[in-house]
């Protein structure tokens, strides 16, 4: 006999799903914001000519880019309390892990973006008396960021999906909620299908908004949208 699809038990638990979505967005949003700031910091450190500054940044970046996110999360949540006695809530552990992890990726995106801006732009800025910092802030970064938007988007989407790992440390994100509902209703297929749809809708909306932003920034004729 064919499988009888029944979504009603899933929709009956819509409040659980909604709460899960809010928590997922919370972890993703906070990690993205912290990751961006921290990532720029790492990138600037890595670009420094002083090895004492560039090497530690390079080390952190490589460690977080090359190790599995699940291990990083476990490490912050389970190992850190054992080693240095720092206890973190699941939310905090998740945010710390994913902030540093996305910072490691964003640092490379920032670095590539900054390096891609022609030397002449630095020359033009310095020739009118700008300091290195002013040239970076006013001239180089605005051009670099514009070119980085597609890569940022890619990472943001990747991050939102990676946050599903927080379910493993019992943080009630969307996937955690889905697990609960599936066990309660015996409707795992329907539940996970709905959850996938939610991810699809949220991420697609996010992508469209970013493309819109890219288009708006393209006014000056220097664009990444074709």
């Amino acid at each position: 006999m064919a499988y009888q699809w029944d979504f009603t038990p899933v929709f009956a638990n819509a409040d659980l799903l909604a709460q899960g979505l809010v928590n997922t967005l919370k972890v993703t949003g906070v990690s993205l914001a912290c990751g961006l700031v921290l990532g720029l910091g790492f990138a600037l450190m890595r670009l420094s000519r002083q090895r004492l500054v560039s090497w530690p940044a390079g080390f952190v970046i490589e460690v977080f880019r090359t190790t599995p996110p699940l291990v990083q999360l476990f490490w912050f949540f389970f190992a850190l309390p054992l080693i240095v006695g720092i206890e973190m809530t699941p939310l905090l552990a998740a945010v710390v892990t994913f902030s540093i992890q996305s910072a490691a990726f964003f640092a490379e995106v920032f670095r590539a973006g900054i390096v891609s801006v022609e030397r002449g732009q630095w020359d033009g800025a310095r020739a009118i008396g700008m300091t290195h910092g002013q040239a970076l802030r006013r001239i180089v970064l605005p051009q670099a960021v514009k070119r980085m938007i597609p890569a940022f988007m890619e990472r943001a989407i990747e991050l939102m999906k990676t946050t599903t790992l927080v379910a493993t440390i019992a943080y009630a994100d969307l996937l955690f909620a889905a697990n609960e509902i599936a066990q309660k209703t015996f409707r795992p297929l329907e539940t996970f299908t709905v959850v996938a749809l939610i991810y699809f809708v949220v991420i697609t909306a996010f992508s469209l908004a970013a493309r819109q932003l890219e288009r708006r920034l393209a006014v000056s004729g220097e664009s990444t949208v074709h």
Binding site: G124, I128, M130
Partner: protein
């Protein structure tokens, strides 16, 4: 009166010595054309004068005061020495007006209305008042270079450095840029100009310097250097540029 005093200037890139101990005094109101074959160190000399390149040895004094290497000092010096580049180096994310306002706003901390008024005057001076709202991508090469000149002028420089300002331009656009530089010359501005436009150098410069192997090989009035060169290499260089008309 000497504005810029250069002494023993040396610049190396790796094992390659590009500037080999140049002494040069630039007096107020002088217009110095710097000539030389490619690789003779013309651009590097100019770029050392406002420390876009850090000299390896020698001193540069502005108004008699030797310039140090601290960034705070260099940013002040660069405001007093304007520079115009071969590739314009306009900021593509800002309009023509924005490009000219940028130094006034960010470096001089001038108020927005003041900076705007000043930038509009500078754009009008180079004949581009009607292009203020255009982004560089929508300007011709000649217009871009004129915006770049306006950007340099906005900082009230005491000395202007032109690094092959017309070399990247289509031939029919060279005239409009040279016209602006000539007008600045007529105002009595002090300038150093690296150029391949020998005819322009002859008519506008007060002194011509011929560089070879990173040293000043020959210098004098335009008439002396361009019409009656004494050194062999100067003669050979000019022979290669025979097509120019004085």
């Amino acid at each position: 009166m000497t504005i810029l005093g250069v002494s023993g200037l040396t610049k190396r890139f790796g094992a390659n010595t590009v500037i080999a101990g140049i002494d040069l005094d630039v007096k107020k109101g002088e217009r110095i054309a710097v000539l030389g074959a490619s690789g003779s160190g013309k651009s590097t000399l100019l770029r050392c004068l406002n420390f876009m390149e850090m000299p390896d040895a020698g001193t540069i004094a502005l108004d008699g005061k030797v310039i140090g290497r601290r960034e705070s000092e260099l940013t002040l010096v660069r405001q007093r020495i304007g520079m115009v580049f071969q590739q314009f180096n306009l900021f593509p994310h800002m309009t023509a007006l924005g490009n000219v306002m940028e130094g006034l706003r960010t470096v001089r901390r001038m108020s927005k209305p003041d900076a705007r008024a000043r930038a509009e005057r500078e754009l009008a001076r180079v004949g581009l008042a009607d292009k203020a709202a255009h982004y560089p991508a929508h300007l011709s090469g000649g217009q871009k270079q004129r915006v770049a000149i306006a950007r340099a002028l906005a900082m009230d420089p005491e000395l202007l450095l032109f690094d092959e300002p017309t070399s990247a331009l289509d031939p029919e656009l060279v005239g409009e840029v040279l016209g602006v530089i000539r007008a600045l010359a007529e105002e009595g501005r002090t300038m150093l100009l690296v150029t391949h436009e020998l005819g322009f150098a002859y008519h506008v410069a007060t002194r011509v310097i011929f560089l070879a192997d990173g040293t000043i090989h020959e210098q004098g009035t335009p008439d002396e250097v361009l019409k009656h060169p004494r050194r062999e290499r100067t003669q050979a260089f000019l022979a290669r540029h025979k097509e120019f008309s004085l």
